[in-house]
């Protein structure tokens, strides 16, 4: 009876042991991931898409990417996690972190290195290093088409004279002067094709932010989050458009303008 109990106990212990036959190829335990594409965005960022070709011998846990300007990226280099959808995931990068810890906007004239990774219950795997850049920012289409060198706010339309850029301050400033209103666009970086986002102050702008100030007796500004569309229409000549932007002047004072200026 004792022997039977002992055998039963042993068989039970063996059956509970998660001891499957090992895989012949140790790499088969880990996921396989590869980067399949990158897409420059109109805001100056880049979207990178990766694909899981094999999840390995257990369920996936995390997927993501790491980016570096100069070296093979490790998990410490601008890691971004992503959500898997139909075997693919994407990450958008608009900046990278320098060795001194400062964030620097991606520059479409430079090259960068990125690696995708995927983890599962057994470990993780990197993709091959994917190098991208330089790239061309796609042209953008503004949702409005005001006359060039005009300012529209409220119900009025005014012709304007445009000057710039001025780099007296740390921003790239363009000014539209009209009989009724003056407008200043302070860009965080030199003009380039893309979509810029308005900010509430001209301090600490990144390369794709712009502060827009209106002087109509008093000083007002375009509320943060509005979009400014910039297209390079010829060598170093840019068309800048802002459409129906809300201002600190209050309701009924939406602001639209377009000008052409040198970069």
């Amino acid at each position: 009876m004792k022997k039977c109990f002992y055998l039963f106990f042993t068989a039970l212990a063996l059956s509970f042991c998660g001891c499957g036959k090992p895989l012949d190829n140790v790499d088969d335990y880990f996921p396989e991931v590869k980067i399949v594409s990158y897409t420059p965005e109109v805001d100056g960022s880049v979207t990178i898409v990766a694909e899981i070709s094999d999840q390995g011998a257990s369920d996936l846990e995390y997927v993501g990417m790491c980016l570096s300007e100069s070296r093979t990226p490790t998990s410490l280099d601008d890691q971004k996690l992503a959500q898997l959808s139909n075997g693919r995931f994407s990450v958008n990068y608009s900046y990278f972190t320098n060795d001194d810890g400062s964030s620097i906007d991606l520059n479409s004239d430079d090259t960068y290195k990125v690696r995708a990774f995927a983890t599962n219950g057994h470990g993780y795997a990197w993709s091959a290093v994917f190098e991208f850049g330089p790239w061309t920012v796609p042209s953008v289409e503004a949702p409005c088409a005001p006359t060039i060198n005009t300012i529209n706010y409220g119900s009025g339309t005014f012709s304007a004279f445009t000057s710039g850029p001025s780099t007296v301050s740390s921003t790239y400033d363009y000014t539209m002067n009209s009989s009724q209103a003056d407008v200043k666009f302070a860009f965080g970086g030199p003009l380039e094709t893309g979509v810029f986002t308005t900010a509430s102050t001209s301090g600490f702008l990144n390369a794709h932010q712009v502060y827009v100030q209106l002087t109509i007796f008093n000083i007002y500004f375009v509320l943060p989050g509005s979009l400014v569309y910039v297209n390079e229409i010829s060598e170093n000549q840019f068309e800048v458009t802002i459409c129906d932007a809300s201002t600190s002047l209050g309701s009924g004072s939406d602001f639209t303008a377009r000008f052409i200026a040198n970069g």
């Binding site: 212990a13 042991c17 036959k21 090992p22 998990s75």
Partner: protein
């Protein structure tokens, strides 16, 4: 046969399963054994064995996570094994299924105790970097099937297959198959 006990030497092949099978190749080991002869269809014995395990990768990928509020950082690190030795003593009890003058088929089971001797280094960026040199105790159970062939009066060769599961302190529960070729001399 007039003797009741015998000493032997054996060569083994350990085939690790599960997590141990991910980490280590199947490995040849060796050892010595002591066992009684079958009396009334049963016998008891003990095998001591040693295995010098060989890792399947130079560096194993290991994952750590740091969760802070809504943000998660995934640390992608490596673990390197410099040494992984296993020592076992299997105490067993066999039942003869077929007991002939020239040969015996048998089934058995038992318990094992042992120890590991380990040297590894693990590095998880921004989480930890540590190394370990030491060992842990092992304890488990097993079932086995075997065949012994008598050569003359004092010499026996045999094959045994064991399915073992054991708990290794600070490491977890592991399992393996051990195939053992044993040559035994009756003193």
């Amino acid at each position: 046969m007039t003797v009741s006990a015998q000493w032997g030497a054996h060569i083994d092949q350990l085939r690790p399963l599960g997590e141990l099978g991910l980490l280590f190749e199947k490995q040849i080991g060796f050892g010595i054994s002591y066992q009684n002869e079958f009396e009334g269809g049963t016998r008891a014995g003990a095998d001591f064995s040693f295995f010098k395990m060989r890792p399947r990768m130079t560096e194993f990928p290991i994952v750590g996570t740091v969760i802070s509020g809504n943000s998660t950082f995934v640390s992608l690190g490596t673990q390197t094994f410099y040494k992984y030795h296993l020592f076992f003593i299997d105490f067993y009890y066999d039942w003869a299924i077929l007991d002939k003058d020239k040969y015996q088929f048998y089934a058995g089971g038992g318990i094992n105790i042992g120890a590991s001797s380990v040297d590894y280094e693990a590095d998880s960026p921004s989480i930890s970097s540590d190394s370990f040199i030491g060992g842990g105790s092992i304890g488990g159970v097993f079932l086995r099937l075997g065949y012994d062939h008598n050569i003359g009066d004092r010499f026996v060769v045999g094959l045994t297959g064991s399915r073992r599961v054991y708990f290794q302190k600070d490491a977890g529960i592991f399992g393996d198959y051990v195939y053992r070729f044993k040559a035994t001399y009756y003193f």
